[in-house]
């Protein structure tokens, strides 16, 4: 148990550090993410520019910080929008049979697409900007949340207390929002946290392909795209955004794992002192 708590705190700390650094970057650096300085193009990391500069002379540290901000915001927006929409759709489908037939088919259809493909197609035809990225990703992930919520809600729906409420004359609305909803919060949180980290990854891929957040706004994906062009000459352009995204996703995954699994009964490593006791040979009893 001790083993897992240290890990949780460590990565929680990493996450908090990343978030703080990215949102408070102006405290650490006088540069701004957009001003061009042709004299300082593609400088390697030094005391003035901790992460070096890019091909427009912009300070990379600030750009990475803003990129993290952008990616986190996009992820959060998608998680919230998909979360609310998926929750509503899932609950309504679980309760109203005719809605279920139509909406679930639509969800199945959307779910049938590989996620990046659908996102890239949507952004591709609507045009790349942040709003469209959020819209596309939300559309992509709503079905997975809706399905989970619907499944969980249908299980609750069969329970006796729902029948009792109906017999008492409670309205559908009341039952759905006051009684079904609290019982699906747990799977909802699990799904939403998953969507949060997956959305960040997908947005990075989108931006890397040029169908995501448009320049000059930095995103972890398009910074890597810029880095790819100069990978042989300016390693820092790929290295720092790369480290940032790996640390971010790693932290989210590890924390998410721990929260999701709780304790795996019987599969945890046993505490050291217990093993020692066993080895010594307990002559008790």
């Amino acid at each position: 148990m001790l083993h897992n708590n240290t890990r949780l705190f460590f990565w929680g700390g990493v996450l908090v550090a990343i978030v703080l650094l990215s949102f408070c970057s102006s405290l650490f650096s006088p540069y701004d993410a957009y001003s061009i300085d042709p004299l300082s193009r593609l400088k390697p990391p030094d005391a003035a520019h901790w992460f070096g500069t890019d091909n427009f002379g912009r300070d990379l540290f600030v750009r990475v910080a803003v990129a993290v901000r952008v990616s986190l915001s996009v992820g959060a927006a998608v998680a919230l929008i998909a979360g609310f929409t998926g929750l509503t759709v899932g609950l309504l489908c679980a309760w109203f049979r005719p809605l279920d037939l139509i909406l679930m088919r639509v969800c199945d259809g959307l779910f049938a697409f590989p996620s990046l493909l659908l996102a890239i197609a949507i952004v591709g035809v609507l045009g790349p900007n942040i709003a469209n990225v959020v819209l596309a990703l939300s559309l992509v992930y709503v079905p997975s949340i809706a399905r989970v919520i619907r499944g969980a809600a249908m299980v609750v729906k069969e329970k006796n207390f729902i029948e009792a409420l109906r017999a008492q004359g409670a309205s559908s609305g009341r039952i759905i929002w006051l009684h079904l909803l609290p019982n699906v919060i747990s799977p909802l949180i699990v799904q939403v946290t998953w969507v949060f980290s997956v959305a960040i990854l997908t947005e990075a891929a989108l931006s890397f392909l040029g169908s995501g957040v448009p320049a000059p706004t930095p995103s972890l994906g398009n910074l890597l795209l810029e880095g790819k062009a100069v990978i042989f000459t300016a390693w820092w352009m790929t290295f720092f955004p790369g480290i940032a995204i790996v640390l971010l996703i790693l932290a989210l995954n590890i924390i998410g794992d721990d929260l999701r699994d709780g304790a795996e009964p019987g599969l945890k490593a046993l505490p050291v002192r217990v093993m020692r006791q066993l080895k010594k040979g307990a002559q008790r009893g």
Binding site: P114, L118, I120, A205
Partner: protein
């Protein structure tokens, strides 16, 4: 069993319908006029009107959909707006590189994923297990394109073991083809290997708790066989399902990896078509990819069903 297959296929139809609907809406609700895109903004109103009529764009949306859907069913996916080829031809031309890459990546992912999962379960709690699990968590957190860039930098540029970018088709030389595809396949397969490894470990550990594993040991089956025959065979059934799900990662992954490594496959086709606003190609290719994806999922479902004798062979009691 036949009922199962029939049932599954029937369930597919509404899904495929919605998919085509979505694809159609995608393109036709987009801002911008495809006619203007083709002819350019200086085109005369007459030319615009003619082309619009030719392309059927003056019809109401529903009629357009019916027309398009009908064409699709009979196999006609239209023509590229920019390249002088039908969508189907373009798809076929670009298919081989993607298939090679995908299969190579899948082979890598299955080999390392299964092996990693089995070793992890066998050494449960010990160092090897922890190492493999950390590697898997890490693998899941690195986006494929980043890994690709890293591999290029280390192995192609610094060490010069592999070519940097590009592709050689199998028509030229099979081994050369593999050499060019190795780095991209690793970049693509690593993440999937991580997923498979985690799942395999979890399932194997579950199965190892079962009573029949104890019976095998009591029979005198050596531990290696207990793992590799008795446990793994039971573990493969849920693992097969996971492979199906990770196919999505494979499909989406090729899109990005092809862009990193300059492989002229379906992914590049999509990306280029989006850049060019070549709507018919976007429509057709997205549809084709999704249909393939749906069918492959169906295949995996059927295989999982067949692999479990409890499902496919009728029992006398449960």
């Amino acid at each position: 069993m036949k009922w199962f297959l029939f049932h599954r296929l029937m369930a597919l139809l509404p899904v495929l319908f919605v998919v085509s609907l979505v694809v159609f809406c995608l393109v036709h609700l987009a801002p911008g006029d495809p006619v203007l895109v083709i002819l350019g903004n200086d085109a005369s109103p007459q030319d615009i009107a003619t082309l619009r009529q030719q392309m059927g764009l003056d019809q109401p949306l529903l009629a357009q959909f019916v027309r398009w859907f009908g064409a699709v069913i009979s196999g006609d996916l239209g023509h590229s707006l920019f390249l002088n080829a039908s969508v189907t031809d373009l798809f076929m031309q670009h298919l081989a590189p993607t298939m090679s890459l995908a299969l190579y990546a899948l082979a890598i992912a299955l080999t390392f994923g299964l092996a990693g999962g089995v070793v992890s379960a066998w050494q449960h709690g010990r160092l090897a297990d922890r190492v493999i699990r950390s590697l898997a968590t890490f693998g899941m957190s690195v986006p494929g394109f980043l890994l690709g860039l890293f591999l290029i930098f280390v192995f192609a540029v610094r060490l010069r073991w592999f070519p940097v970018v590009g592709y050689r088709s199998t028509n030229d030389d099979g081994l050369l083809n593999l050499w060019y595809l190795t780095l991209p396949a690793i970049a693509l397969g690593f993440r999937i290997a991580a997923l498979i490894s985690r799942m395999t470990r979890a399932v194997m550990l579950d199965v190892l708790q079962e009573n029949y594993i104890n019976t095998a040991r009591a029979k005198g089956v050596p531990e290696s066989l207990v793992l590799l025959r008795h446990t793994l065979k039971n573990a493969l059934i849920p693992v097969l399902t996971i492979c199906g799900e990770s196919f999505a990662s494979l499909v989406t992954g090729t899109i990005v990896i092809e862009s990193v490594f300059g492989i002229p496959g379906i992914g590049s086709l999509i990306v280029d078509s989006i850049e060019r606003r070549d709507f018919t190609v976007i429509q057709g290719v997205v549809l084709l990819i999704t249909v393939c994806y749906v069918l492959i999922n169906l295949l995996v479902d059927v295989l999982s069903y067949l692999a479990d004798p409890r499902l496919s062979v009728e029992g006398s009691e449960n």
